[in-house]
């Protein structure tokens, strides 16, 4: 039987397989799947996360598994001391590592992130996923770009303040530390078995910054992030921010070939821009479809029809 990895490889090569690859972003849902009552307990053990990922993939039949715990994990690797756990939503950073300019100077990127205590459970999870997925299903990792990482280290408004009003030297110092962290992180994930690196960068969208700043600031830092580590497994992702406007320069200047669109993007337009040069991932805004099964099915069908016309598209839910 054809595997998720084979479906993905076929799509990347512009070939058709039995169906388009479907990526499902089930994360916190894993706790319920295992009957674990709190997310804090669930995320305390990489074995739980891996087991739930494998179980959910098997149950629903989609094509990927996630090594991602929650976005704040990256902040923990850089010194975040407190994560806020909700009963009904994803964990969130409560303690900001950077609270003053001096904290930027003091910020230390661990020499070896794989020896950091916060990495231990990630590694455990990745090792199990690698062993059990056996290369049949791509293991996805979520890594935050240097331009975006400061938002979870100091809060988005403080980052905007530094970015637009603050000292350029201080800004660049922070960005270079975040970029160094990205390099170490991507290497650690790859070594541990991640097949796909989702490069998360809302600041790589013109919904976040004007085109001029995208070109003069976001683009150079994306180059610094990606050029030293290679891009074959990297997927461009801007969160819920649209990316159709920037696909062309990203393809030209970063050579990236896989694009995980925003639910707000026009999928047909995105696919047309990427054309046969790469892979487009069409995304469904399932939040608007909560409790509306017929609408959800219609939306999926429309996207599947679009995907099937000419290939080069995979499907994800947001």
């Amino acid at each position: 039987m054809i595997t998720g990895m084979e479906r993905l490889v076929a799509a990347m090569n512009g070939e058709k397989s039995d169906r388009i690859p479907v990526f499902c972003n089930l994360l916190d849902q894993g706790a319920k799947e295992l009957g674990i009552s709190t997310l804090k307990e669930y995320y305390s053990n990489g074995e739980y996360v891996a087991e739930a990922q494998l179980k959910m993939r098997e149950k629903y039949g989609y094509d990927n598994v996630w090594s991602l715990f929650y976005v704040g994990k990256e902040a923990e690797l850089l010194g975040c001391q407190k994560i806020i756990y909700a009963t009904d939503g994803p964990p969130n950073v409560e303690h900001f590592v950077i609270q003053s300019d001096a904290d930027i100077e003091k910020l230390q990127v661990p020499e070896d992130i794989t020896s950091h205590p916060a990495w231990a459970e990630e590694l455990k999870c990745l090792q199990i996923l690698k062993r059990e997925a056996k290369g049949k299903y791509p293991i996805c990792a979520y890594l935050t770009a240097s331009m975006t990482l400061p938002a979870i280290l100091m809060g988005m408004d403080k980052w905007f303040e530094l970015l637009f009003f603050g000292s350029h030297d201080l800004r660049d110092l922070l960005l270079s530390k975040c970029s160094e962290f990205f390099h170490k992180e991507v290497t650690a994930y790859r070594n541990a078995g991640a097949d796909i690196i989702l490069y998360a960068n809302p600041f790589g969208s013109t919904d976040f910054v004007p085109k001029k700043q995208f070109q003069n600031l976001s683009m150079p830092w994306m180059k610094k992030d990606l050029e030293p580590v290679g891009i074959d497994d990297v997927v461009y992702y801007c969160g819920s921010s649209r990316m159709n406007n920037v696909i062309e320069p990203v393809m030209e200047q970063l050579n990236l070939k896989s694009f995980y669109l925003s639910p707000n993007d026009d999928v047909a337009a995105g696919k047309k821009i990427v054309a046969n040069r790469g892979l487009t991932c069409g995304v469904i805004n399932d939040i608007r479809l909560i409790g509306q099964k017929p609408k959800c099915a219609a939306k999926c069908n429309a996207l599947l029809r679009l995907a099937w016309q000419g290939g080069n598209l995979r499907l994800a839910h947001w």
Partner: protein, 221 residues
């Protein structure tokens, strides 16, 4: 002359160029435009123009929203200190993020925008308990509570807007205090504000200025 100043100021704001925006304001001041005119004839119309542009599908990005509100707020604060007499404040708003929500950017944009529109803001910060929103609204005689949520679960939480509504009902304050919500989840589902029992919602931080101002004016009637 004011038309030219408004155009130049707006261009600088849209370009996210704070230094140019401030330079334009300071030049206007030096050339004899009064601080009152700068606020009421330049900053507020510029902010209203931005609100109008956004409502007419002008594709402003988050950086422009942030810069517009911060520049307007900064200029207003600087000019108000130079007013011959204190300006009339339209009303007071209690602002904060919902319980469990640590996201600050949207709240900050709303705050800057409101201050530039002559609305006092009591910023309760992040992760605000529902009781606190109501207690502070009563203490400051504020007609509006504005709750910002960045995440779906914090928007829909029983300890968020829904609880604030429940407390307003219990204390018989619904006629005196209205609730406005905003943040990403409300954009994903424009009917969400009804589900969480808010009186109104705003699509972005800049638009929130108009929604809240309109609500205050309506309540004053």
């Amino acid at each position: 002359m004011l038309t030219e100043i408004i155009a130049a100021y707006n261009e600088a704001v849209f370009d996210t160029d704070r230094d140019s925006a401030l330079e334009i304001i300071h030049c206007a001041l030096e050339s004899g435009v009064s601080p009152e005119d700068i606020v009421f004839q330049v900053v507020i119309p510029a902010m209203e123009l931005m609100i109008k542009s956004i409502s007419e599908d002008f594709d402003a990005n988050l950086a422009q929203h942030f810069m517009a509100s911060q520049i307007a707020s900064q200029v207003t604060e600087e000019m108000v200190a130079k007013f011959k007499k204190s300006p009339e404040i339209i009303g007071t708003v209690i602002l904060g993020t919902s319980h469990g929500d640590m996201h600050t950017l949207g709240k900050r944009i709303v705050s800057g925008c409101l201050r530039s529109l002559m609305i006092d803001v009591v910023d309760l910060g992040v992760n605000v308990a529902p009781e606190k929103f109501v207690d502070e609204a009563v203490a400051h005689n504020a007609p509006v509570i504005a709750i910002s949520s960045m995440m779906m679960h914090t928007a829909r939480s029983d300890l968020g807007c829904i609880k604030v509504r429940e407390i307003l009902k219990e204390r018989n304050l619904e006629a005196k205090i209205k609730i406005v919500v905003g943040g990403a989840p409300y954009r994903w589902d424009p009917n969400l504000y009804k589900i969480v029992q808010a009186d109104a919602w705003a699509e972005d931080g800049i638009t929130a200025g108009k929604v809240i101002k309109d609500l205050i004016m309506e309540m004053k009637k």
